[in-house]
Point group: C2
Chain length 218, copies 2
Amino acid sequence: MHSFTEENYLKAIYHLSDGNNTVVSTNSIAEVTNTKAASVTDMLKKLADKKLIHYVKYQGVTLTDVGVKAAINIIRKHRLWEVFLVEKLGFKWDEVHDIAEELEHINSATLIDRLDDFLGNPAADPHGDPIPDRTGNFVHKKLVKVSDLKEGQAGTISGVNEHSSVFLKHLEKLGLTLGTKIRVTDLIEFDGSIMLNVDEIKERTISREVAKNILVIL
Amino acid sequence: MHSFTEENYLKAIYHLSDGNNTVVSTNSIAEVTNTKAASVTDMLKKLADKKLIHYVKYQGVTLTDVGVKAAINIIRKHRLWEVFLVEKLGFKWDEVHDIAEELEHINSATLIDRLDDFLGNPAADPHGDPIPDRTGNFVHKKLVKVSDLKEGQAGTISGVNEHSSVFLKHLEKLGLTLGTKIRVTDLIEFDGSIMLNVDEIKERTISREVAKNILVIL
DNA sequence: TTAAAAATTTAGATTAATCTAAATTTTTAA
DNA sequence: TTAAAAATTTAGATTAATCTAAATTTTTAA
């Protein structure tokens, strides 16, 4: 098995490459893992030796097939635990990320498959992110950032690009939770902020920064 | 917070002192933590610096009040997770120990208190061991080893002294699970093995070694 | 096209946890 | 009471993961 640290690097590389296996830079990994570039370089050599990544000096990395599988498994565990925390223990969607960061490293395929069944094989976690099945397959819904919508376009909130508590609480306060229907009523030229009709009953204005982090299905 | 390793040492010391805070030796810790005595000495210095143990060179250790609290908290987590695995995910009592060894290090008081409520605040884990409440209090029932019973004495199986899968499976095969009523019908002088009447319906003979690890309430 | 800036790697050090072998202290048993 | 055995500690080394500072490579922009 891989160490917690190795698992965190694999997960970071997977997320940074958008699941597309595009090349990821040393610095970007350093940023999301809260380490220095020099530390990342050391770890990349180790992961390359273990055949988890393709690494060319100065050129960045991609995950190998084995590396992708390992990363997806960690993500599966993370998301299933998040569902457990929200559905069974009553946590709110903005409270589960940090605990799931710990739980995702628990090592037992049986445990996670039984948890999956216990939860009713959920398709998505509390933030709308899809949950890979036990073979590693999962469907990415085609989601669009609210910031990319044109005036008049409508959609249903189905995901977020930012999992921090402060952001999720803000969305909650605005009533912009998963499943909410929104329609763009106005694009403000001055600062890029966006006016929304929410569930046909209220109006909300959100900043461009917020809009970039809300995903809708059209 | 303490590292996983530190937590494992605290737990080991707590168990070795039988919850009584009797003095524990370096070698005994080395044995249960699967390390060498020299490594234990190093760690004891560290734990003493952190005021988690009282340590006198060559004389052994006891836990401080803070150390006891920390140890009890780890045990609380371990046992609650075991209940979860058995009651909610359908694991058998001989399958949960190793997974709980990992889960016990997850760090969130809220998580564990909510898990406790979710499970209905159980008093004991699947092996009959009592679960400390959130303030660290728990009741030790007065349990007696079957090997200490006299001929004719009866009791209800309420705990075990050994948590290995191979031992628990053996008990299951013999029908000697928690809640079973037993009565000693014969003490075999030759090898110390013991004949039992089980639930007034069957007879079983167990070795002295097995009898030492089954606990009954009289 | 090339000098400066940015990104990355290398060299050498540090911390936590571990080890073996040797030294020291305590315990045991004659 | 004391020599031998057992238990424990010390000294010095190792591994995983990290760091800073310096060196190298790549990219950018004039």
